[in-house]
């Protein structure tokens, strides 16, 4: 029944100058598929390595199954770890790689053979048991690495960017395979990735990390629907950010004045806001409604199409509003009206599909940069 609890963990590198993980607390439930999501350098891999015991925290406590494991070396933590580069032992064939765990744990040969066979059959590679790692394709190596990580019978699987090195198509296929496997075997999985769509499609819950700290933890839907701040709104999914200030507040509705005296209504969520407070309005490209010509609607903003891009599933329009702001609007290719560059359009959005954030102290541009 693997649960993982991380309590106020801090890890520094380079004589304490680089703070990789700062005061992080987390609880991961049994049989949960949990992702650590963030840009490169945010500390997500460090956190995973701390949980595996490959490095030890400077401060804080880590519990696996309710047992404090700070002083337990990795070989005794009973975790399966998949490395980004797979780390298949180059001098051993597939069979020796997969049965390495049972062997170093001194299981009887019979049992370790049985486990090796089961694991290789599970990833559909039993017939390649004599191959050396370098003779396999990327996808196969990935499956062997998975089989090896699970062969020691661990119920806690840690995955460090497990799909990072694969082709786009195989990556999508393996997303499903890995999640199904974890669910079928009743494992707890912690998955590190910088790819938000990977985290969204695979996870039960996601922790978004930035600069060594956890910004928000929630289900994929929660993160998408209710991002806690500009960073999450930008990193999970995509969003347009428009600067403005609060002009009036009445009950549940606030009126924002954007640039060029453009006024829009939004829900007054997250407590009463001060008048004249500088804010940032966030609207997702898919939340905008795009129509030809000038149309009357709630929160209608006028503009003209500046650029069109065909993305396959969606059409992506960049619209220059009359106030000078540029917004991105996407709509499904098959149900969307085709418009051309220069066409006059109306962009509108429903108040409940927008988010209002405090204007960041460091400035909007700085807040949006990934690192």
């Amino acid at each position: 029944m693997p649960t993982v609890k991380v309590e106020n963990v801090t890890k520094k590198f380079g004589k304490g100058k680089i703070v990789a993980v700062y005061n992080v607390s987390l609880e991961i439930k049994d049989k949960e598929y949990f992702s650590l999501l963030g840009p490169s350098g945010c500390g997500k891999t460090t956190l995973l390595r701390l949980i595996a015991g490959l490095i030890t925290p400077d401060e804080g406590k880590i519990y696996i199954d309710g047992k404090l494991v700070n002083d337990v070396p990795p070989e005794d933590r009973g975790v399966g770890f998949m490395f980004q580069t797979y780390a298949l032992f180059p001098h051993m064939d597939v069979w020796d790689n997969v049965t390495y765990g049972p062997r170093v744990r001194a299981l009887p040969t019979q049992q370790s053979d049985k486990l090796g066979r089961e694991m290789l059959e599970m990833v559909r590679l039993y017939e390649r048991y004599k191959a050396l790692p370098r003779e396999l394709s990327g996808g196969m190596m990935q499956r062997v690495a998975l089989a090896r990580a699970l062969s020691a019978g661990s119920k806690l699987l840690l995955l460090d960017e497990p799909l990072g090195a694969l082709d786009a198509k195989i990556r999508l296929q393996l997303r499903n395979d890995i999640r199904n496997l974890v669910k079928d075997l009743g494992l707890t999985a912690i998955h590190v990735t910088h790819d938000q769509s990977e985290a969204m499609t695979m996870s039960d819950r996601i922790a978004v990390m930035r600069k060594g700290e956890i910004i928000q933890v929630g289900t994929p839907q929660e993160l998408y629907m209710n991002p806690r701040n500009i960073f999450v709104a930008n990193f999970v999914g995509e969003a347009n950010f428009l600067e403005g200030h609060i002009e009036s507040v009445k009950d549940k509705v606030a009126v924002l004045e954007l640039r060029g005296n453009l006024r829009v209504k939004v829900l007054n969520e997250g407590g009463p806001r001060k008048l004249e407070e500088n804010v940032v309005l966030a609207v997702r490209p898919e939340a905008f409604l795009l129509e030809k010509g000038r149309k009357e609607a709630v929160n209608a903003m006028f503009g003209s199409i500046e650029r069109v891009r065909f993305e396959g599933t969606n059409l992506r329009y960049e619209v220059r509003l009359v106030n000078g702001d540029l917004v991105v609007v996407t709509c499904p290719t098959l149900s969307c009206e085709l418009m051309e560059v220069g066409e006059k359009v109306t962009v509108s959005f429903s108040p409940d599909k927008s988010h209002v954030f405090e204007y960041p102290r460091v400035g909007l541009g700085q807040e949006l940069t990934a690192e």
Partner: protein, 556 residues
């Protein structure tokens, strides 16, 4: 302005195919005619004499035993070196403490010390009055096989540590981490994964230590216990045997030939079988290896390896400093500076040594560069380049006294060639691989993409070499050149073999060997000071090397 004109002219010339072929052919012909072929032919010229040895069973058995002893000591010492050196390399590569940098520097000392200095230092420490051994009343270890083994252990120890530290630092620890997460305790992970992956470095470290032990002559002769008169010794290996019987005797030809053939055979066998050799990784003893992975065991292992390094390697190597320091106070120094008595010859030898080394370095750099490019960029096709690569390394594994002997057999036929030129040729042959090796592997590390980018931007072949390869490899070039230089200053075996006994061209190590073995009357103060001066000059070279390499690291 003229310089730029010359470069432009050379750039233009280099785009002509004939010019390129000419440069490469000159490099190859030079290598074949001066480095590779003379020793082979030289020994061939004396082939007829070998039969005489078989007619004299006593001599034959002595010769055979010298050959056995040479290889036996080399194998034994290399194995012990790995056993003792690997833990130290591990400690240096993996430890976090700052003082490891200091330790790392100290490890190089026996490597940079001239071997005659090492030999005399060990002799003083273990068996002469006034050394460590005098605590025990009499000489603790008298000159002979044990002292030779200690000496060979000391000078090949840094090679093993250096190679293994380098490869441990390059090693991707993710394999070790994977092994740990799969349940292996540290020692099991090191043994089944890390060591197996590092096997190629282990093999090349072994070859280097082995070749060095096989080849070393000067210091070995100091501690071999050669009796007054120079006809018998307590310890006789190949090089000692050759110098006892005189290089022109049939027995010396026989031993030289055997040393060359067997050394090359062993080298070939290791090169071919090394990659196929599999370290045992299947069997695991979890509870035992877990116990030996514990911190208590690790601490005591580190302690033992440091004690061995300090008391067997470092302190005995530096012991020669004592008489050198006392020489400053007891008047030997002023005598030396005034150049009277034996010191006159000393200064001549020192100057000769450095002049020869400078000439050898200059020639090898110029003529070795095209060869390095040829090998690194496979300019003559893959298989032929690989063969070149192996051929270039041959002088490295052949005992230098044997190489020198057969060189002198060859050039002896050309009486118009002066002795000093033969001496330079012999040193060139011995040091050639050091430069070409380090340079070709440095060029290999320069991505071909860079050269192609410069080519697309319009650079001619010579311009590509001078603007891309040279700037990116100049530290290796410098390091390789310094290695050639120090190796030449240090070289004793081939020098002894080339020079006639009455030669005027005694290099510094040969002169010091005469002093130590009592051929020339010299006091311990004389010898200490003579060696001390050589050591100080060697350290100056080491310092330059370190500074240059460090600067290179910072910039790259």
């Amino acid at each position: 302005m003229i310089g730029i004109g010359v470069l432009k002219f050379l750039d233009k010339m280099s785009s002509k195919r004939a010019v390129r072929y000419l440069v490469y052919s000159v490099a190859v012909i030079f290598f074949l005619s001066l480095i590779l072929v003379p020793p082979i032919l030289g020994i061939g010229f004396r082939w007829g004499q070998v039969g005489q040895v078989f007619e004299n069973p006593g001599l034959l058995s002595q010769a055979m035993s010298a050959i056995y002893v040479s290889f036996g000591v080399a194998i034994f010492v290399s194995v012990i070196d790995i056993v003792a050196g690997l833990p130290l390399a591990w400690y240096i590569a993996r430890g976090k403490s700052r003082w490891l940098n200091v330790l790392d520097t100290f490890v190089d000392i026996p490597f940079i010390l001239p071997t005659v200095a090492l030999g005399y230092s060990l002799l003083l420490f273990w068996s002469r009055p006034g050394g460590f051994s005098s605590i025990f009343g009499a000489s603790l270890i008298s000159p002979g096989w044990l002292l030779v083994v200690l000496l060979h252990f000391v000078f090949s120890f840094p090679i093993i540590v250096r190679v293994m530290v380098g490869s441990l630092l390059d090693y991707q620890r993710v394999y070790e981490e994977a092994s740990r997460t799969l349940g292996a305790p540290p020692l099991t992970a090191d043994r089944t994964v890390t060591l197996s992956i590092l096997k190629p470095s282990l093999v090349s470290a072994f070859i280097l230590a082995f070749a060095r032990s096989l080849s070393e002559t000067g210091a070995t002769m100091m501690v071999a216990g050669i009796a007054a008169g120079g006809k018998t010794a307590a310890f006789v290996n190949g090089p000692v045997f050759i110098s006892l019987v005189g290089k022109d005797s049939a027995a010396a030809v026989f031993v030289s030939l055997m040393l060359i053939v067997v050394a090359i055979t062993i080298f070939a066998v290791i090169t071919i079988l090394g990659p196929r050799l599999r370290l045992p990784t299947k069997k695991v003893w979890p509870s035992l290896e877990r116990r030996f992975s514990g911190s208590n065991f690790t601490i005591s292992r580190n302690a033992i390896t440091i004690i061995i390094f300090l008391f067997i390697v470092l302190i005995p190597s530096l012991f020669v400093a004592l008489p050198a320091v006392s020489a400053i106070t007891n008047g030997t120094l002023s005598q030396a500076l005034s150049g009277t008595g034996i010191w006159q010859g000393y200064w001549q030898s020192l100057i000769l040594s450095y002049l020869v080394a400078a000439a050898v370095t200059l020639i090898n750099v110029f003529i070795g560069l095209p060869m390095a490019v040829l090998i690194a960029r496979k300019r003559v096709g893959g298989p032929l380049s690989a063969i070149m690569d192996i051929l270039v390394n041959i002088p490295l594994v052949v005992p230098s006294i044997a190489l020198g002997a057969s060189m002198s057999f060859f050039w002896g036929n050309f009486t118009f060639v002066p002795e000093i030129v033969i001496l330079i040729f012999a040193h060139m042959a011995i040091t050639y691989p050091y430069f070409v090796r380090s340079m070709s592997s440095a060029i290999e590390r320069v991505s071909v993409d860079l050269e192609e980018a410069s080519r697309i931007l319009g650079a001619k072949p010579f311009a590509r070499f001078r603007t891309i390869i040279l700037p990116l490899t100049k530290y290796s070039l410098f390091a390789g050149a310094l290695m050639v230089f120090t190796r030449s200053v240090d070289e004793t075996g081939a020098t002894l073999a080339v020079l006639s006994s009455t030669s005027a061209f005694k290099t510094a190590p040969v002169r010091l060997l005469d002093w130590v073995n009592g051929t020339v009357a010299a006091t311990p103060s004389d010898i200490g000071l003579g060696i001390g001066i050589l050591v100080i000059l060697s350290f100056a070279v080491l310092l330059v090397l370190r500074l240059v390499i460090r600067r290179g690291e910072v910039k790259q």
